[in-house]
Symmetry: C2
Subunit: 451 residues, 2 copies
């Protein structure tokens, strides 16, 4: 069993030992690394290999380094170059050279070349092992040439790339098309010449968008001169799509992306990823105290005003959170581009006014009902208090919606990641303004009565 | 050019007209449906076909219904049964029968069978067109049998499923393995018998986890009796993974999932998806007013306390947002299971105490510095005020972190979607308790002095 994606359609464990494998898989996340290595070594070799391939690079790396030195080589050599590169990249710096040394000459060269790319661009994802033919081969020549290549460790033989003598990508043909073409035609006659390619430096999120748009099994990676360097295959992309969504969700939650599974990341590394944003937000939020101080006199005169501060503030934060989540996700999917900001602002202005009117109305009714049922006595001017709440909520919700929808655009225009416009970030921005809006409205409504 | 995923590796437009296609693709999202149909009809047929395949089911459906009746048939017939089923499902009810009528007899039967499945389970994703052989075929027989099947409209010929006379799935073999096997062996000799399968009713999120775990190109779908009904292919899964992440991100933002692209969804349908949660949160948040009312006397005696309410509350909301985002994503990826709640609670308790101490310290310093620099006069008891802020922040952050991490577990245990534990939901829960914690701590610290 080899690591290529299309050699073995059945990485499931064999029936007899499937229980052991399943138990190990289930317990994996809670086992210490020593227990993992021990459990792993209990597996029969074919099961162990199947299991090994389903692990992420991080776990493979930890596991290999916890096996006796003599056993490491055979596991390293099972890996395709792109997977071996991921593993080496994940290993502690001092272990990288020894791990590379376990590989055979050719693979080591390939892996070293891959390590030169950033982990999160097309070059870092690609495998250099793709099926290739020359344009002037006859169809039957090409088929038997590929049958030979099929025995090597290629990622896939089902897309066949047509390269000239200078490694320039001339065309592509599927194995299926070769199979059904007349045998005396040349590859050039049947190949496709307009090809979806990605540049070696393209970011992996962009690469995944190209995959989502064209239902392809693999996409060739080319350099500036049109030389083909490798292929990115769909199985790497499923991981990328999940990885990118995880990063976005964590950033939206108001922290740095963990880049490691939640239960596995070292506690203090996790705290480090969380404390930065949390402190920054806390310090920014201190401006609310400054803003409140500014209205201290009003609060002293009408303490009733302070009772509604949390309600007003949270309505701005919540509506901002909705708007920013919508816009960030639409940007990540490529549905909304920078130039769409004007359409989004119009849409969200209208949405903010609509939602704000509705919530404002609820707030108005709250005060009127509480007053008339006798839950609380807002005094003779309770209608003015109700009006203050209603108009403040309308203003704050509209402002929160606009801020939440525009912050991702602003961040992107500045070259930053729009996903940093987290719900807490937006809420913090809106809170200070929210307090100002609230007390300004209150002064307009209550001047001469309560204030 | 046919719609199979492996027939044509090159859905890129031909060079001459690529400009027109690119322009249409770029402008697509802002064009009215009439302009879309008009632009589409300007394309040369091969370009139009390439372009058509890159559209989502919803856009394909709208487009087809805006073409003259006579042109619809050829577009419907281009589609594979699973894509045709998606399109029909998306069409207005009164258009479904006429659209089905455009298909040929066999495809119509297949599509009708697929329409019986829920859209978001394995049955709804699968295609019934897979390559099949019998276990007693010789390898060379199987290859020539497959070469014939390769000309039909199969999803893929690269995984070949071995079915007995009763459509029971006996094994699977890759085309590549057939190519490299000795020609006089039977399929049974070389097939794999332990197979990764999914049940026809498995939820699509689970299916995508199976894909992410095993790097497979396609997975067979079976019913209760082990009969093979179809295959789910990787290209559908990339879409599923994105769709599920979009739903989670939107729910985390505190609303219902839109299920449609942001710029395309009808404005009032969008408002409907947002207003429910927003109103529910607003009404719940009114308990903060009730809580504040409870401490009205204290506020009147020490207005200074009200100045810190927004700061204290937001620190709880922000730390809760971090914890809930982490746990929800780890659950969606299958990293954290229901039974892990105890490990998570210990981890987050410690995280909450650590983060809370740090923020509390910052709060303490704020009061001491402001007092000594002279920005604000907290009076003779400013150290007690500082202590109140410090301990309240510690309590509120710890409580926010615990609530945020446990709410997804609670929702899942109740059979609800953990992703509903949105940042705004957690913030709202924490706000009411936060106020209570704050004023209780204040009374302990300030009793006999300010209070």
């Amino acid at each position: 069993l080899e690591p290529q994606l299309d050699t073995s359609p059945t990485p499931a464990p064999s029936d007899d030992d499937s229980l052991v494998v399943d138990e190990l898989r289930d317990a994996w996340s809670i086992l210490s690394i020593d227990d993992r290595a021990e459990g792993f070594r209990l597996l029969a070799r074919p099961d162990a290999e199947d299991f090994f391939f389903t692990l992420k690079a991080h776990d493979q790396q930890e596991l290999i380094l916890h096996l006796p030195s003599a056993e490491r080589r055979s596991w390293m050599r099972l890996l395709a170059p792109d997977d071996a590169a991921d593993l080496v990249q994940d290993a502690p710096p001092e272990e990288r050279e020894p791990l590379l040394g376990l590989l055979d000459e050719q693979t080591r060269r390939e892996v070293t070349a891959l390590l030169a790319y950033a982990e999160d661009n097309a070059g870092g994802l690609m495998s250099p092992r793709f099926a290739r033919v020359r344009p002037d081969m006859k169809v039957d020549e090409a088929i038997s040439y590929l049958r030979k290549q099929a025995k090597e460790r290629l990622e896939t033989i089902y897309y066949v790339y047509v390269l000239d003598a200078h490694q320039h990508l001339d065309g592509v043909v599927s194995f299926r098309e070769l199979l059904t073409a007349p045998v005396d035609r040349t590859v050039r006659d049947i190949m496709h010449t307009s090809i979806v390619t990605v540049h070696e430096n393209m970011d992996q999120e962009k690469v995944s968008q190209v995959f989502a748009q064209h239902d392809l099994m693999s996409i060739p990676v080319i350099d500036n001169d049109g030389h083909m360097k490798g292929i990115v295959t769909f199985d790497d992309i499923v991981d990328v799509v999940q990885e990118e969504a995880t990063e976005d969700i964590q950033k939206l939650g108001g922290m740095e992306a963990l880049d490691e599974p939640y239960l596995k990341i070292d506690f203090f590394r996790m705290i480090k990823k969380r404390v930065g944003w949390l402190s920054a937000l806390f310090i920014s939020e201190m401006f609310t105290t400054t803003a409140m101080t500014h209205f201290e006199e009003e609060i002293e005169r009408a303490v009733v005003l302070s009772l509604f501060v949390p309600l007003i503030m949270s309505s701005g934060g919540n509506s901002g959170s909705q708007a920013t989540s919508l816009v960030i996700r639409a940007m990540a999917l490529g549905e909304v581009k920078l130039r769409d900001w004007w359409r989004v602002i119009r849409r969200e202005l209208l949405a903010g006014l609509t939602l704000g009117s509705l919530l404002g109305l609820i707030g108005l009714l709250r005060v009127i009902i509480w007053q008339n049922v006798g839950f609380y006595d807002y005094g003779a001017h309770y209608l003015l208090v109700a009006g203050t709440i209603c108009c403040s909520v309308l203003g704050v919700v509209t402002w929160g919606t606009l801020t939440g929808s525009m912050l991702p655009f602003l961040l992107r225009a500045l070259g930053l990641d729009p996903a940093s416009a987290s719900a807490p970030f937006v809420a913090t921005l809106v809170d200070v303004t929210g307090i100002t809006i609230y007390f300004t409205v209150a002064m307009a409504f209550l001047h001469g009565t309560l204030l």
